[in-house]
């Protein structure tokens, strides 16, 4: 892919995950845990990780978090999003590089979900410095498992359609 095409392709994906991120903030989440949500925007990062490798995935993730802060103006959640997102993507990259095809997508996403919540929990622990916070950890782990599963299934659809897009693009450039 030429650098311009890559730029446009990645911006499109960042835009996609930003829209998901902003729309999701408007949805109410029934659990009484601060900042708990499905994290559907992460399915784009996961799809990019599978299709274009870790470099593109980290670009999409970090730019999505930065631009998301500008759009929503929540300074509090910045460190949480960044730490959780980076830890989760690092873990998923590691697992994907080590096991390649042997690990299925939704399981990869479950690991990512759990790591995301562990990362966010570490930030919370670092900010509050009280061990009583550990009470929430089991619930966060279970939540990460469920949200990861949902994200993994979503990422499967995203990958299906992005592959179609890429095939079209390849044939187009071949003709031109």
């Amino acid at each position: 892919m030429s650098s311009t095409k890559r730029l446009v392709y990645l911006s499109l994906l960042i835009c996609l995950s930003l829209v998901i991120y902003v729309v999701e903030l408007g949805l109410p989440f029934p659990l009484p845990i601060s900042g708990a949500k499905l994290g559907l925007a992460n399915m784009i990062s996961l799809a990019v990780l599978i299709l274009d490798g870790p470099g593109a995935a980290f670009t999409v993730l970090i730019l999505r978090i930065l631009l998301g802060q500008f759009l929503t103006g929540q300074i509090v959640s910045f460190s949480f999003s960044l730490c959780g997102g980076l830890i989760s993507l690092l873990g998923m990259t590691f697992l994907h590089q080590c096991l390649k095809e042997r690990v299925s997508l939704w399981l990869l996403s479950m690991v990512g979900g759990i790591l995301h919540n562990i990362g966010q929990f570490c930030v919370a622990l670092w900010l509050m410095r009280r061990m009583a916070l550990l009470y929430y950890l089991p619930f966060l782990l279970a939540l990460g498992l469920i949200c990861g599963l949902i994200n993994g299934l979503g990422a499967q659809f995203v990958i299906l359609h992005l592959q179609k897009l890429k095939a079209k693009q390849a044939s187009h450039s071949f003709r031109a």
Partner: protein
């Protein structure tokens, strides 16, 4: 005489009845989650899928299960006759330490940080809760009264937290010996 005797023989029933509904509910809730997870864990062993996937799923589920079991083990309901101590902290620094058993009349406290975040805490005998806050999500207010050994009330935007611990009163013997 016979009436008092009758009452004392049913003392154990009174104790069971006096056990707050919430405690039983909490215990029941955790057992349900643990049994559910255990069932899934056992079921996973028989699912047909790639060996790596199955092992990984098994690992993740057992991690979650272990954390719930640890929580159940460490969570102790407040013992009768012990002091309920509420610790109010921000950024990990304790601001206030209140013995809830010694509170006689209800009062409110207002905590304000340098960024303008304000939390109002209502204290009454054996009872503490956050009544109002100017944070966006209002989860600390929805949390309601904080129970001993239960989840702490957390206001994440203000790094503000209330936890209640139960401290057993020092016996006279410990001083005399």
């Amino acid at each position: 005489m016979s009436i008092t005797q009758g009452k004392s023989s049913f003392d154990f029933l009174y104790i069971i009845g006096n056990h707050s509904n919430d405690e039983i509910f909490t215990l029941f809730k955790f057992h349900t989650i643990i049994i559910l997870l255990l069932n899934i864990l056992m079921g996973v062993r028989n699912i047909q899928m790639k060996k790596t996937n199955r092992n990984l799923l098994f690992l993740l589920l057992s991690l979650t299960l272990a954390s719930f079991i640890l929580l159940l083990l460490f969570e102790q309901p407040a013992a009768k006759g012990s002091d309920l101590i509420a610790i109010i902290s921000r950024d990990g620094k304790p601001l206030e330490r209140i013995n809830l058993n010694e509170v006689t009349a209800p009062y409110t406290l207002v905590f304000e940080d340098d960024q303008g975040g304000r939390n109002t805490v209502a204290v009454s005998p054996c009872h503490i809760c956050i009544v109002s806050s100017n944070c966006p999500d209002q989860l600390c207010v929805k949390h309601g009264p904080v129970e001993a050994g239960g989840p702490p009330a957390v206001c994440l935007p203000h790094h503000f937290m209330i936890e209640v611990i139960s401290e057993t009163k020092p016996q006279i013997d410990t001083y005399t010996h």
